[in-house]
Every structure is written in C-alpha cells, then in structure tokens.
C-alpha cells in the first residue's frame, strides 16, 4: 500500500513547484510582502489582508495542504516497509486529517476576520493566530506520539535490534578476517 510512497512524494513536490510558479506569475499587490510602518522605523505592516490574498489565497491554501501531506508521506518513508502495518497507516492518516483540519480552521477564521473585522481571543491571541500558535504546534504531536509510543512497534523493534547487532557482529568478523 505504501510501497510507492516515493512516487507520492515526487508528485507532491512537483505540484508544490507548479503552485509556486503560479503564485510567482500571479498579479501582485503593493503590500504583498509588507510595507514600512508609517510611524515606527524598523516595523513592517501588512495593511489590507484581503487584497494580499485576492489572487493567491486558494493557491497558498493548496500549497500548505500539500506541505502537510508531504510531511506525513516523509514520516511514512522513514519507517521500514515491513513495519508499515494497517494500524500504522491509519495512525498516519489520522495525523494528516488533524493537521489539515487545523490548517483549515486557521485559514477560514482568518477569512472570517477579513470579512467582518471582528475576532475573539483564546489564551492571549486572536482566534486565527491561536489556531496557528497552539494548533499548528499541537497538530504534530500525534506524529511525535507515534514515534515515541510506537518506537518498539514501528521504528526499531526488538527483532530489528537483534538483526542490527547480528549485522554488526558479521561485519566485525569480516574485518578481523581481513
């Protein structure tokens, strides 16, 4: 099922490259990368957020959705093929869904703010920024948990350890014979 993961990674990176090119060719706006603050030197302002996203908002959303998919595909690549059990693949899929949901929540609440100009607060930050701050960081915790809690199931099993030790021994014996 995950044997062709490298082709997925290749396809995702290629798509991201195409999106980047499309963004590069899109109509630009003066405040796309920010403007100097009118009052305080050294500070940059973003000004009209809706205008900045007008031509590239959808592309940027797709770019990051692909990036999150790439992250999960790379994590799968990092696990030996023989340990990519259905349980592992489901856990990875759940991680991806969580990360994509957080990204969607951040993006949509930001869009909502751009429409209404109003936002609530969560733990000190406006809600879209709280999704970014706390959500993005916590969104990858399932990946960390899979690595840490599943270490002896997916990453480096006792059988792997025995196999590696046997390989080390063989190599040492060969070296001694030489």
């Amino acid at each position: 099922m995950t044997r062709g993961i490298i082709y997925w990674i290749f396809a995702i990176c290629s798509l991201m490259g195409i999106i980047l090119l499309a963004i590069g060719l899109a109509e630009t706006v003066p405040n796309a990368g920010g403007l100097p603050h009118p009052e305080f030197p050294g500070m940059v302002v973003g000004e009209d957020g809706a205008a900045r996203l007008e031509h590239i908002g959808g592309l940027a959303f797709a770019f990051n959705a692909l990036l999150l998919t790439l992250v999960v595909c790379l994590a799968i690549l990092g696990v030996s093929e023989r340990h990519r059990s259905p349980k592992f693949v489901v856990a990875m899929a759940v991680s991806l869904v969580i990360m994509l949901l957080i990204w969607w929540a951040m993006f949509s609440t930001h869009q909502e703010f751009l429409r209404t100009g109003e936002t609530g607060y969560f733990m000190g930050f406006p809600i879209p920024t709280a999704w970014q701050m706390y959500g993005t960081w916590l969104g990858a915790i399932p990946l960390v948990a899979i690595y840490t809690l599943g270490f002896r199931h997916f990453i480096f099993t006792e059988a792997d350890e025995a196999e590696f030790n046997a390989l080390l021994k063989e190599c040492q014996q060969e070296e001694n014979q030489d």
Partner: protein
C-alpha cells in the same frame, strides 16, 4: 540591585566564560582520539543529546534575531517556531535511526562519512564536505561578530571598559571559544549545550512571566494593541504575508533534518533506543526556550506602539531593550549568559563539523585517506578556522560585508535545500542514486548563490531557499528515478531494510 544591573550582567557572562574554560579542560581529559573529538565516542546519554540538540537549533538568532523579527514583521516569524514539532518529528522519523546505525557500522566520524557510505561515492562526500565548509565560514563569522557586538555593548556600560573596542571583544570572545573547542572538542560543546539548554528553559519561562506583567491585561492586551495598529501584523500570516510565512514553515520545518550540526548529534547517542525519549525532550526544551522569542517580540512591538517605550533604532534591539526596561537585573544576567552560551555552543558545533570536513572528509575524498594523527590536526585546524572566521567577521564589519553576507546565505536554507534530500530522503530510499544526489546538491547551491548574488526579489515574499528546496527535492527524486538503479553495499542495503 537595580544600581548594580550592569555589574550583575557582566558577572553572569564572566561566570559563563569561566565555566566554558573549565569544561574545556575537563573534556580534554575525556578526549583521547578523533572519534571522541568529533562525535563524543558515540557515548552520550539521552538527556545530554536532547538538550544539545535543541540548544544547537537556537543560536544567538533565537535570542536576538527572533524577538527582532517579531517586533519587525509580527506573527510571520512565529512560523519558524510553531513548525518545531513537525521539524523534530520528521528529523527523527527520517534520520535519527539510520544515521546512528550507519555511523556505528562504518565507524563514521562525520556527516560526509555517512553519505559516502550510503552512496559508495567520494564525489558525494566531497560535495557535502565543501557545502559544510562554505556554510560553516558564513555561520561562524556572523556568530563571532554577534558575540563581539553584544560583549562590547555590555562592557561599555561599565566604567572600567567604557572605551573597549570591537577588535578587543572579537579577540576575547574568540580566545575563549578557541580554548574550549580545541581542548574539549565536541564533548565540551555538548556539555556547554546542556547548560545553555537549561538556562534557556529557565529564561524562557521567567521571560514569559515578566512579559505577561508588562500590560495590565497581560498578553491579550498586548496583542489587541498590535491588532488595532495593523491587523495583519497580528493575524496568522503577519506583516510579511502568506508565502513568506509558508516558506519559513517549509524551510525551517523540513530543513531541520538537513542541518549538519544538528543531525551529526544524532550519531552521538550511546543507545539507539534512547531516540524515543530524545525526541519529546528536545521538543519540550525548544518550546520552552521559544517562549522568550515570541513573548519579547510581541511585548516590545505593543510597548512601542502604545508609547510605553521609545521606538527602537534597530529591530534586533528588542531583546536588549526589553531586558533593560522590564526584566529584573538577575534575569537579565541569566538571559545574557544564555545568549553567550547559545552563540558559543553553536559556533563550537560549526567549528567541529567544519574541522571534520577539512581534515577528514576532503582529504578522504581527494586522496582516499584522511590525514595522519587526526586529533592533533583537528586541534590545529580548529584554531585556524576560528581565526579565519574572526578575521572575516572583522573584515565584514569594517570593510566590506558582501563576502560574509554571501556566505551567510549558506545558512539554514542552503543546508536544508542541499542536505535534506540527500540525507533525509536518501537514507530511507534505496533507489536514490549518486547522480540524483550530485544534481540536488549542485542545484541547491546554484539557486541560493544566484538569488543572493543577483539580489533577486521574488514576488509575494517567496524566498530563494524555498525555491531551491523544492527544486532540489524534485531533481533528487526525478534524476534518481531515471538513472540506473544503484547497487548498494551489502551492509548498507541491510541497514536500509531495518
């Protein structure tokens, strides 16, 4: 206590420098050969590796540049921080196990050693070593300059050293750095990393508490002030915009697994199974330390907008102004010591991998064997490398900053773009070929150099390293797919199936 603020700060920095010297002497007794000098004899415990890993991620940039970026562009720079959980996870999934296995199997001392074993190619070793040396020169020069500038700022506030010059500060800071790097090698580096990590965790928590007390309404009042001034600065993509933010998300996230000074530390743990604990510990440490970055930046931007503090001359003054205006002198002393610790331990890590590339990898790639008496030459080259970097730093400050700026472009982004595909993907995909690796490294270097040299500004804040990273990934996999399937050495083939 307020009357002795400057003395307390100077005292904290001097104590830290003395600690470095003592650590160097202690580590020298544990450094018997080049394996001890470069990879600590692969004998470190999980706590030491975890702290060394996360504190090496945050150089002086985390203390000075990070808060400065938040002050300047608002939330955009948060993306460099919030990506840490993904970055560390990817680093461990892709690199930690296999780099450690290959290092033990082939007795590798450096990252180029590992890639040479993986690809059975001296060309890939050579390219990797050259990339590291170029990057190390840029990083080291900027770190030494930053250390000297901060030292001058601290010392000039005292009566005795009011007129101290930058050259003297470069000499003093480089001398301490060279002493403990030469005597203790990577062992001294990782143990100072441990102290740096501990300082950063403590400082991050205390700074957050201090920051929360600046405005009556705490963090929410500060973010409301910024939002009212310019809503985009406080929204998820910040003032720099969506593509600059997502570019950092990509380059700082995935790129973590392409930083030679970090992934080399993944070769140093004693037991492979320690990795399961090193990952969450590193991540926890990083998050605690990053509180300093975020909270200082937000409070300083809000305080200037609100008129609590005068506008800063430079965004990078955010941390030092915050410490002098809002922090208790003792906390300021701890943070300044932490700043020196961050700069010195990162410099030491770079000196170490740069030295390994010069005396071990490049000779091996060119002549087929490294120099004789590696430990002696490692110490000599460490002195030379640090001296040249210090010279570079002074030259860039007083004469022409172009060369160092150019080498500085060989920072995080270039390492990420050129090393990540070859190491992180290559260690997990048996189809990766030498042609793919050479093409990816060359393309990454070429794109980053071209963008920097030509001063190209891409639309929507798209960065050169982002373009280089995606291009090198596509080329690495694409070229490997269309070239002949590589025949791997038997032992490497077996390791890659585990």
């Amino acid at each position: 206590m307020e009357a002795y603020r400057q003395e307390i700060i100077v005292g904290a920095v001097v104590i830290y420098m003395l600690f470095c010297i003592v650590t160097g002497l202690w580590a020298m007794r544990r450094t018997h050969d080049s394996s001890d000098f470069f990879i600590a004899g692969r004998g470190l415990g999980p706590i030491v590796v975890a702290l060394a890993l996360f504190s090496s991620t945050l150089s002086g940039f985390g203390f000075v540049g990070g808060p400065g970026l938040v002050y300047s562009i608002g939330v955009s720079s948060f993306w460099m921080v919030v990506i840490s959980s993904i970055g560390y996870a990817i680093g461990f999934f892709l690199v930690a196990k296999r780099i450690r296995m290959i290092a033990e199997l082939r007795d590798c001392l450096s990252l180029p050693d590992v890639v040479a074993a993986r690809y059975s190619s001296e060309a890939v070793r050579f390219l990797m070593a050259v990339t590291i040396v170029l990057g190390v020169m840029g990083y080291l020069a900027t770190q030494i300059l930053a250390m000297a500038v901060v030292m001058q700022a601290i010392l000039s506030g005292t009566e005795t050293f009011a007129d101290i010059g930058l050259v003297s500060c470069v000499v003093i800071s480089s001398a301490v750095l060279i002493f403990y790097c030469v005597t203790g090698g990577i062992i001294a580096s990782v143990y100072t990393d441990v102290v740096q990590g501990a300082i950063m965790i403590v400082a991050g928590s205390l700074i957050l508490m201090t920051a929360m007390s600046v405005f009556e309404g705490g963090m929410q009042e500060a973010t409301s002030i910024i939002l009212a001034d310019d809503s985009e600065a406080m929204m998820p993509f910040g003032a720099a915009g969506v593509m600059a933010s997502l570019g950092w998300f990509f380059v700082f996230g995935l790129g973590l697994a392409g930083q030679p000074h970090l992934i080399t530390k993944m070769m140093m743990n004693k037991k492979m199974t320690d990795n399961r604990n090193i990952l969450p510990m590193s991540l926890f440490g990083y998050v605690m330390a990053a509180l300093l970055w975020i909270s200082i930046g937000i409070i300083m931007r809000a305080a200037v907008i609100d008129g609590v503090v005068d506008p800063l001359t430079l965004p990078d003054d955010a941390a030092s102004t915050f410490l002098s205006v809002f922090a208790n002198p003792l906390l300021a002393g701890i943070v300044f010591a932490g700043l020196f610790a961050a700069i010195m331990s990162t410099s030491d890590a770079f000196l170490n991998i740069g030295t390994a590339a010069i005396i071990h990898d490049i000779p091996k790639a060119v002549r087929g064997h490294s120099v004789k008496n590696e430990l002696f030459w490692a110490r000599v080259v460490t002195v030379l490398l640090a001296t040249v970097a210090a010279g570079f730093a002074l030259y860039s400050h007083f004469a022409d900053a172009t060369l160092v700026a150019l080498l500085g472009a060989f920072g995080w982004g270039t390492f990420a773009a050129s090393i990540f595909p070859v190491v992180a993907v290559g260690l997990n995909w048996r189809g990766a070929s030498v042609a793919g690796a050479v093409t990816a490294i060359s393309a990454a270097l070429l794109i980053n150099f071209s963008v920097q040299l030509a001063g190209i500004v891409l639309p929507y804040g798209i960065s050169g390293p982002l373009v280089a990273f995606i291009t090198s990934m596509v080329l690495f996999i694409g070229v490997s797919l269309v070239t002949k399937k590589p025949v791997l050495a038997k032992d490497i083939d077996r390791v890659m199936q585990i």
